[in-house]
Amino acid sequence: MSAVTVRIPTPLRVLTHGADEVRIAGGTVAECLTALGQRHHGLGERLLDERGELRRFVSVFVGPRDVRMLQGLATRVEDGAVLTIVPDVAGGSCERFGRDRRSGRRR
């Protein structure tokens, strides 16, 4: 087990009672996120889906590296590691997207 720091983005702090980071113990990213979810009710569901996979609109970085570019949730974490939870940030004027939604099609 390693002692790691998990950085919480502003939109998810309602689930950590306002804490901007949480100290947690775990040997892999999966163990850290599971422990985080057990400590802060509702947070686990925002990060992991029913199969225990990372949700589509969330990324997790270990230091400067995206775990999806490493070993995913099985990525091992060392003592003192910093995990950053990254909310997917996207949008745009998307005129065509609006038209597709109204016609019932999604792109």
Binding site: S59, F61, D66, V89, A90, G92, R96, F97
Partner: protein, 143 residues
């Protein structure tokens, strides 16, 4: 989209607006995007600086996907100064500065969303929005 009687406020200094306008015009006709760094209070968000981020969506000029590595970098800068990522800014080339259905679908609560409408002639308008519940509410912008 609605405008509350006592709408939340975002404090955006004039120099910062000029920076965003410049970035919007430089990226035109593509969408530019980035993050707002500052301090968030109950009904007021104070923005100290903005960071531009890479738009990973190279297929469409009418949308953006902010590079998550740039989020981590900006978040680190903010935390080093005991501040937070308090919002997102992006441009709507040749469209109004109002959230689109795609903006709404991908928005997170507790952030300010500054949108700049930009045309070939320059920035047309700059407005700020906040997701509260299922809809965006407009924020008043003050220097």
């Amino acid at each position: 989209m609605q405008l509350e009687t006592r709408s939340p406020t975002v404090l955006l200094p004039g120099t910062l607006r000029l920076y965003l306008q410049s970035a919007a015009m430089y990226a035109y006709p593509r969408e530019a995007c980035g993050l707002l760094i500052g301090r968030r209070m109950a009904r007021q968000t104070e923005v100290f600086w903005a960071e531009e981020a890479r738009n990973r969506n190279l297929l469409h000029t009418d949308r953006f996907e902010l590079d998550p590595a740039d989020f981590v970098r900006a978040d680190g800068h903010a935390r080093a100064d005991h501040l937070d990522v308090v919002g997102v800014w992006h441009t709507h080339p040749d469209h109004r500065a109002r959230p689109s259905p795609f903006d709404l679908e991908r928005a997170w609560e507790n952030w300010s969303y500054v949108i700049l409408s930009v045309s070939a002639a320059g920035v047309v308008e700059l407005r700020s929005w906040r997701l509260m519940g299922a809809d965006f509410w407009e924020e008043a912008i003050e220097p």
